[in-house]
């Protein structure tokens, strides 16, 4: 049975995501798996430095989504099921830096679909608790584990359906964000396909660094960030970095 990690990476006019990918791949290879597939476009691929053995799959990213007024190519996650060459796949955002091997053990479980539902704000401000106004429990699609089977295919079919009718579902579930976010997309789809009941989740909170934190140093074991003129750091702990300037660190 094949097991691997699936990453999506598309450069935009403003952000060199391939630089973030290069760091992410190094950590994935060290801590999670040697089997890595990158979904990208040819333009981004041409700018990447050699990263050793990696499978590439080229697609034309769907355009039109924006974040903070800038182009944001993030809406292809619903195709992960078709694009993954693996029986068991760990899908990760490329700005999720795995400084530990905590995620590797998820690949050894019988769960066919797992997603985290909480985030831990590393600055101690509980920034991510603001999403409580929504009618459904939210999830963080930053990291997804899935196995290929009929049930999971139906989950992804539902994600596609919700995406197709996103404005309707967003209104129904009181999701006020204007842009399309995979977190919301998967939360709504999982709610629908699971008969409006609960579902299995990853039993830990995703350590997350809010966008107003500037990453000042990154090594293979951890990173340091600056916030309010204060430097803090973590080591051997995974970090989801929301400030895309990390590409330039």
């Amino acid at each position: 049975m094949s097991i691997g990690v699936l990453l999506f990476c598309f450069d935009t006019e403003h952000t060199r995501y391939h630089r973030i990918l290069e760091r992410c791949v190094r950590l994935v290879r060290k801590n999670i798996s040697d089997e890595i597939t990158v979904i990208t476009d040819f333009h981004t691929y041409q700018r990447m430095s050699p990263m050793g053995h990696i499978n590439y799959r080229f697609i034309e990213p769907e355009l039109g989504n924006k974040k903070d007024g800038q182009e944001w190519r993030n809406v292809d996650r619903h195709m992960a099921y078709e694009l993954s060459p693996y029986d068991t796949t760990l899908v990760m955002d490329i700005d999720y830096f795995c400084f530990s091997d905590n995620l590797r053990q998820l690949l050894q479980t019988e769960h066919d679909f797992l997603v985290p539902d909480t985030a831990h704000d590393l600055t101690g401000r509980n920034t991510f608790d603001q999403r409580r106004w929504s009618m459904i429990p939210m999830v963080w699609a930053t990291v997804l584990l899935f196995k290929k089977n009929d049930r999971v295919r139906k989950i992804f079919d539902t994600v596609k359906y919700v995406k197709q009718h996103y404005s309707y579902f967003a209104e129904m579930y009181r999701i006020y964000a204007r842009n399309l976010r995979n977190d919301y997309l998967f939360a709504m789809a999982l709610q629908q396909i699971n008969g409006f009941t609960g579902y299995d989740k990853m039993p830990f909170a995703l350590p997350t660094l809010p966008p107003d934190c500037e990453v000042v140093k990154m090594t293979d074991t951890g990173l340091a960030w600056k916030h309010n003129d204060q430097i803090s750091c973590v080591e051997h702990q995974d970090v989801h970095v929301l400030n895309k300037e990390v590409a330039d660190v």
Binding site: A205, P207, Q230
Partner: protein, 104 residues
């Protein structure tokens, strides 16, 4: 107390509290372990439960982190794995904690 000293001490206390919270969260994440195809939390509750059941049963059922039942057929191995992971995570936490006490 001088107001600048008060601010400095307050900032230090806040930074220490945040760093401690992060270190504790790191330990909690590390306590999640896969066994027999399921996920368990290697915390005090799980260790006490498994040890108690092991004293009177050769095989038994416990719940994983998503409340799914799992049959444990080798309690000694399971308990050993839980203790190992628990102590690994808490020793790492202790090392970070000692840096807070050094800072005062």
């Amino acid at each position: 107390m001088d107001i600048n000293e008060l601010k400095r001490q307050s900032d230090l206390s806040y930074d220490t509290a945040v760093a401690k919270r992060n270190a504790l969260e790191k330990a909690r994440s590390r306590q999640v372990m896969a066994y027999n195809g399921h996920l368990f939390r290697a915390d005090a509750d799980t260790i006490c439960l498994v040890r108690t059941l092991k004293e009177s049963l050769d095989t038994f059922c416990v719940l994983d982190t998503n409340h799914n039942p799992v049959e444990i057929t080798n309690p000694a191995e399971f308990l050993g794995r839980l203790i190992e992971r628990n102590q690994e995570s808490l020793n790492a936490y202790k090392q970070i904690y000692q840096t807070f006490t050094r800072k005062g």
